[in-house]
Symmetry: C2
Subunit: 557 residues, 2 copies
Amino acid sequence: MQTDIEIAESAKVRNITEIAAQIGLSSEDLEQYGKYIAKVPLDVLNKKGTKKGKLVLVTAVTPTPAGEGKTVTTISLIQGLAKIGKKVVGALREPSMGPTFGVKGGATGGGMSQVYPMWKIDLEFTGDIHAVSAAHNLLSAVLENNLVRDNPLNIDPSRIVWKKTMDMNARELRHIVVGLGDSKLNGGVTHESGFLITSASEISAILALSTDYADLRKRLESIVVAYTYDKKPVTAGQLGCVGSMMVILRDALMPNLVQTLEGQPVFIHGFPFANIAHGNNSVIATKAAMAFGDYAVTEAGFAADLGGEKFMDIVCRQSGIRPSAVVVVASIRALMMHGGADLKNPESFTADALAKGMANLDKHVANMKGYGMPVVVSINHFYTDDPEHIAMVRSHCKDIGAECVMSDGFLKGGEGAVELAQKVVEVLEGPKPELQFCYEDGLSVKQKIESVATKIYGADGVDYSPAAEKTIAQLVDQGYGGLPVCIAKTQYSLSDNAELKGAPKGWRLNVREVNLSAGAGFIVPVCGSIMLMPGLAKEPAALKIELTDDGKIVGLK
Amino acid sequence: MQTDIEIAESAKVRNITEIAAQIGLSSEDLEQYGKYIAKVPLDVLNKKGTKKGKLVLVTAVTPTPAGEGKTVTTISLIQGLAKIGKKVVGALREPSMGPTFGVKGGATGGGMSQVYPMWKIDLEFTGDIHAVSAAHNLLSAVLENNLVRDNPLNIDPSRIVWKKTMDMNARELRHIVVGLGDSKLNGGVTHESGFLITSASEISAILALSTDYADLRKRLESIVVAYTYDKKPVTAGQLGCVGSMMVILRDALMPNLVQTLEGQPVFIHGFPFANIAHGNNSVIATKAAMAFGDYAVTEAGFAADLGGEKFMDIVCRQSGIRPSAVVVVASIRALMMHGGADLKNPESFTADALAKGMANLDKHVANMKGYGMPVVVSINHFYTDDPEHIAMVRSHCKDIGAECVMSDGFLKGGEGAVELAQKVVEVLEGPKPELQFCYEDGLSVKQKIESVATKIYGADGVDYSPAAEKTIAQLVDQGYGGLPVCIAKTQYSLSDNAELKGAPKGWRLNVREVNLSAGAGFIVPVCGSIMLMPGLAKEPAALKIELTDDGKIVGLK
């Protein structure tokens, strides 16, 4: 069987100008990055009007470490909608190099359902993530430079909340001490600090949520970077380098256009990590997909309790975007894991495990229905799946009132998702749903956290560390209490404990710390033991990737 | 008067495909990055043959903090050679964001002598520097991951020599402690570390010195990252992630093609900072410029004692490239500074100061002649220059046997460098010079350092810190004693003390520490108080750059 990269290399793809032409963009409208990638400038997007296609959000059950095929399903749905004659445009997120060199691999789909070219998109792509890192670290460098230049803003070095960032899994940078040189001007001011992975930078969220350059500036200026000795917030605007950050981010705010292996246009813009970030693609890209397609398909990161919840409660709330249907992706393997099966032991893949694991699917489906959305369950088909198990899932979905289809995008591309596409179109022909947020703006910060914890995660309640309590009180004092919450927690459970599978009951959410993202427009409660900088696994993908002497990439997945 | 960016915005430039066509490259041969930038894949370069144009190296006197116009002169010389009907291709270095947001500004020339488009080249460009950062930091992350995964290579955490890197002036990262988490797997192993600016990363030098992917791999594998508890070197090859680093660097090894404001093709590839790095453009780009042009023009960073020396003793030694002539750029202001004038006080710009400051020019000219090169002195003309002072420099150059011309590339573009171009062509018609290295391979490490110190810098001798002594002895023991040296020292003096102007006498070079760059193929003696990570100035350029709401960049210089 061919690897993903071999399939991509032998694919018949067209120059990106031909793909752009399908949605009315000329080659003059594009900033090309090689033959198969282009950025679309914002003024071009603005000129092309705001026709409103119907938006489908693809989300998933709680995943296994390898994922359950959400991106494959999303891309196959785009390809499948085209197969049945629909004008469709995708809007996906940009992979981070962290997971690409970590365990999960890239994020460009797989098999016959990929965006092209994976070896560019999974790696440097058009440099958007690097631009976010640079803008983030410039702000940090200017802040630190203020400290050694008479500290005119009276910043307390022990209250610097703006850390540094890198798009790499580097656990040793989670907690560091900087400024150990032999004098202030030589080595900076000594204080504790650390690095986040770039996707978890507030600037990643700002880039994804901004609607234009003016909005980007306003958000960047609002970032709270530190507090003064008398505990007043210090913003990026006060540091005077937002113009330079804007210049660094200028091109990064333009969405990137690529194609699926079957030639549909897909905007790839905004970043992953819905566990530790908001983890959704950009508002600009989603709006562009809705403007250019009768159908727009987007994907939220990790399971529906993370990317799905954040799409509804943050992205839709801020942008006014409204989805018309939700696809929840599941695999029989993942459901069995939730019922107690051991992923390393095929003998544990029993009907009992499946029946029990369905609880996880049920919870995510109920959550999405709670948002007022019609739901289609898409089972990502593996050739090893037992027909009896498939029948069980179909029958179960009927019981819980969700449409259920099998999709086979990995092996068959769009052809494997025709049934899914037809079902989605059928659902979209129903009455337009009305989005119901999980919580309203007027609730307190704690009430918002508790709403998500109890309604979405299924917790009995929320416990706060003393530090979290203190920060929440301060944020409310400073007037940030009206913001929505963007909860950071493990992707491996509906709870904040990665070990609890299925739909855990009888547990409480532990809020360890709380961060403010005033520019992104949310508050980040960090739960359980989740880290904002991942580490590398024992055998990371970085050890299995090669470049041949003639420049061919091998082992990237 | 128009700013550089306004001049560039109103310039009549052509699509990069038209520029490429001038040197026989079709649009199919290119990987375009927008309309005005393209990467040229290595297989395309290999196919196009190895016709040997004559190479002119542009270097300079010891600069003022604002520089003395070396890049302006280099670009104007390219434009000037075209004006007199020559087929010319340039090969320059890629700017770093550090200086762009620091004091010096970008590095794309200025006035009517620029490479286009400065707002891309000075910032993200094609992501090459970011790729180096990513490859560097991936190697570091894999090393650190080894430490927490049973440390199979027996690495001594106190003997890790591979630090981290960022393309930003962040002095607080010079000296840090990493791995302060609450357990090994959570927070990594605690040890001292630090960040270099990316241009000073060994991988920057490796990228610039590699001739193809096989050479790149060999060099990356040879990087020494740490020592074991029993003091054996550990290489990147042993860590198993060189394939992934290659994949990250794949596109970065392809040179970038742009145009001057007057339409000549210029390859921009390889990085700046000849004070703390080797600071020359890439071997691949220089060879490409020589293959496609009858005349190739390249530039070495900072003054002739830094970029110039390293071009001759490292780049030419490793690559077999041979220049045919050297242009030494000077400005009357810079020479006056070397004679004691105060840059902030125009009244100190006297003929006496100029006469005295000429010693700096004399030393650099003599050094370049010592390499066997014919030398043309090019005075970068400022409209404030007094004709009497110009006459003094011309007369002085005659005395020291160097050709001397005025160039006026900033105000007049190629037209302002016609005299320079004619003089260079005249010199190139003379006998082909034979390059004499400053030192031969067979000398000891200390003899090599002493050769550069006494012959090029004018030192009386060299003093070594105990740490430097110890490292040199170890490197010799380990078999690295045959490598050339790439000395890091201040760019503001021929000596290792930035305060000493002119051509200082009666001083000794202080070698503070010594680093091995086994993959780049040199040893780095770090001298005086120079730092491998710059800091931001009190009023950095970062505070003066803006982006308008319609995406226009203002204040970039």
